[in-house]
Amino acid sequence: MSATGIGAAVRRKEDLRFITGKGQYTDDISRPGETRAVFLRSPHAHAKIKRVDTKAAAAMPGVIAVLTGADLAQDKIGNLICGWMIHSKDGSPMKMAPHPAIAANKVCCVGDQVAVVIAETLAEGKDAAEKIKVDYEVLPAVVDAAKAQSAPAIHESAPKNTIYQWHLGDAKAVDAAIKSAKHVTRLDIVNNRLVPNAMEPRVAIAEYDSGTDNLTLWNTTQNPHVARLVISAFVGMAPEHKLRVIAPDVGGGFGSKIFIYPEEVVCLWAARLVGRPVKWTSDRSEAFVADAHGRDHITHAEMAFGEGGKITAIKVKTIANLGAYMSTFSSSVPTYLYATLLSGQYDIPAIYCEVDAVYTNTAPVDAYRGAGRPEATFVVERLVEVGAREEGMDPAELRRKNFIKTFPHQTPVIMNYDAGDYGASLKKALDLADVKGFDKRKRESERAGKLRGLGYSSYIEACGIAPSQAVGSLGCGVGLWESAEVRVNPTGSVEVLTGSHSHGQGHETTFAQLVSERLSIPIENVSVVHGDTDKVQFGMGTYGSRSGAVGMSAVVKALDKVEAKAKKVAAYMMEAAEGDIVFKDGKFTVAGTDKSVAWGDVTLNAYIAHKFAGSQLEPGLKEGAFYDPTNFTFPAGCHICEVEIDPETGNTEIVGWTAVDDFGTVVNPMIVEGQVHGGVAQGIGQALLESAIYNAEGQLVSGSFMDYTMPRAENLPSLKVDTTMTKCPSNPLGIKGCGEAGAIAAPAAVVNAITDAIGSEDLAMPATPPAVWAAIRKAAKMQKAA
């Protein structure tokens, strides 16, 4: 390992500009002649739009245009789409209702766009938006997924508000296993709805150049090429080659910036209409109602056990709330990203999962850090923990008994786990968390009048998303490979162009580490270019912990080609046979001799092209590659949470956190540790604090940071983070991915710990002090009654 190569804790190259205010986020960009877009949003969760009167608004100072859904329809701007087709059990396709970028006939959630003002300044735009008069006929709203199927249909095309009724697995085998089980653990679970709250709100700037007929969109997106494809091919805004999408520095996404949203579509459309650049910057209040939310499942789950705690089956029924419209990848989250992970780390012979996805009058729900896998982990790890308690077994021992121990392992739910050592991460975590000393610590807590609990989460996730053919067969509308181009300059420095997109992950450092190691060049001599469809030919973007496993694998492939070409140049330079050239430590050597040329000599010669003729070799040194993974990757690990609870107040303090993860090869341990910290913080946020709450009328009442509680430093313990390693066999670097693990593992560990402490399983997330306090009281009452 070199000081800047793979495995080195290199300081992030990008941080200097981020922490000195030199980052270029979308909102930092201003275009000459720029105008501002202000959206008028529905205050009603469900209403017919009878009339939109824009006259008074249009006459306000500084107003350039006031546009409505009717204008959008007249210009034949297409609807937004969901790009993953799911079929119901009966074979019928999912019911994708029309999702116009501005509502024309009815609004389906609070925050739905009703009109847009294009004005000289933001203040003028806001003042004018006040003057738009909308006559609504308010309709009854449904917000609770459990009631959606018996409520009046929101969309004509989706009777009973049902988008699909999907299933996976062998129902008969599962029912038989449950019938013959020694014990069945049953749980009702609500996976609470979350608001992503990336630090940087969404922004779009659109500019139309009438001279070239080109449209440019600067956008806070995790996948600029996919945005361009959808906006071009489905929305019909412009041909793909006439639309450029630039995603500059992006301040956090967590999935919420994968999707193609109405606002960027409207900005592009308006920019062409008014002939000037149009900029929209979401404020925090808008973000709460206009960004796609995460999670929101209602689940009944059963786990069957045989002799000695052997898990024989899992049966799951979930209602997934997808909100008012189907967001870009919403359909895949509660299906193929969820049910396929219900085997957890365990050898389970039979699994069956049914999922009903429903419309409600709430913000759309789509992927959020982990996307389906946190929900699956929560189901499996709660069942295992509760099962152990009911069976009187040590939860660690029950897990160990059921771990998959041989690989590859085909689960009953599609996934083929390729490598792992689940016992190793559990053992390391038990040691690091000092589980042996827990009883003593519990007694000490008791003496202080406190309750102490311990909770495990042995999670698994499917990352490195994803083999194109496999996801295609499951309904995905795109391939999920990644591209890379390695451009070597005459002086030997390198630009890596990648289709991956960094919005906090540190690609400018980790991708450069790969090149630095491979070519033995200083890391300063490598720059990473991403986020611009005019620079990078195509790419699928960053989500699903895919940048290392898929994006860097594409770079490896391109580097292979660069090395092969450079060897040809070196062979001409040294008048040797190409097959005799060895590349090592940044030098090209003729095997068995002391003849060598340095990297920089070869790169210069590749461009001056004096040592070979055009008929012999093409000049230049630039190679591209596409890498399509052959399998998902399967990061897995064990997190142990220890809590202390004050029974008088219900306040939970997390007093210990141990994370032992197997991410395969770790490129930069410092960045990986940061990813674990961030993920765990978000998972703890979900478990203890965060919840998007709609009232019965469909008003988002936890719609600001006054009511929606983000985790703060005081909510987090000092984390013990460690790793074990089994290399991923399916990609050249052995990487599995680490971006989502913490958020996937954490909620189950927290709730397992709290329920251990209070001696009751009747507790829903977020486990706020009042919720825990009430659960303690309820359990005591029931104990008394019994």
């Binding site: 529905s42 205050p43 009603h44 609070v110 006040e130 009232n695 719609g703 600001s704």
Partner: protein, 147 residues
Amino acid sequence: MAMTMAGEQLLAAPQEKVWAALNDTDVLKACIPGCETLDRLSATEFTAVATNKIGPVKARFKGKVHLTDLDPPNGYKISGEGDGGIAGFAKGGAVVVLTPKDGGTLLTYNVEAQIGGKLAQLGQRLINGVAKKLADDFFVKFAAAVK
């Protein structure tokens, strides 16, 4: 999840006088917090403009006010719906009952109100406190007006 609030106020005035004041646009306009205009359209219909602040959101509500269930001089139901522009909306009503008590008049009220849009997003948790304060402000002025 409508907000509900109930209360009563003992007024040092005869019931007929209180009833008259409850139907007097000038009195109502002076007592309703933030009321800018209150114009009578008919015996039971008014248009109103009022500016109020709920938490961080200040909104100028424009809307109609209706009187129903009129039972002079024992009470009525006053209801309204205000459009606060991009701040959202507020709607609701109050059942007002007058009964003679201790030489004066006991006014009891039952309020039900709903808010929507940005008002609900930012102000839902504050709405009960705000409503209580608005009611208190109203009755301090109203008590003075009927004295």
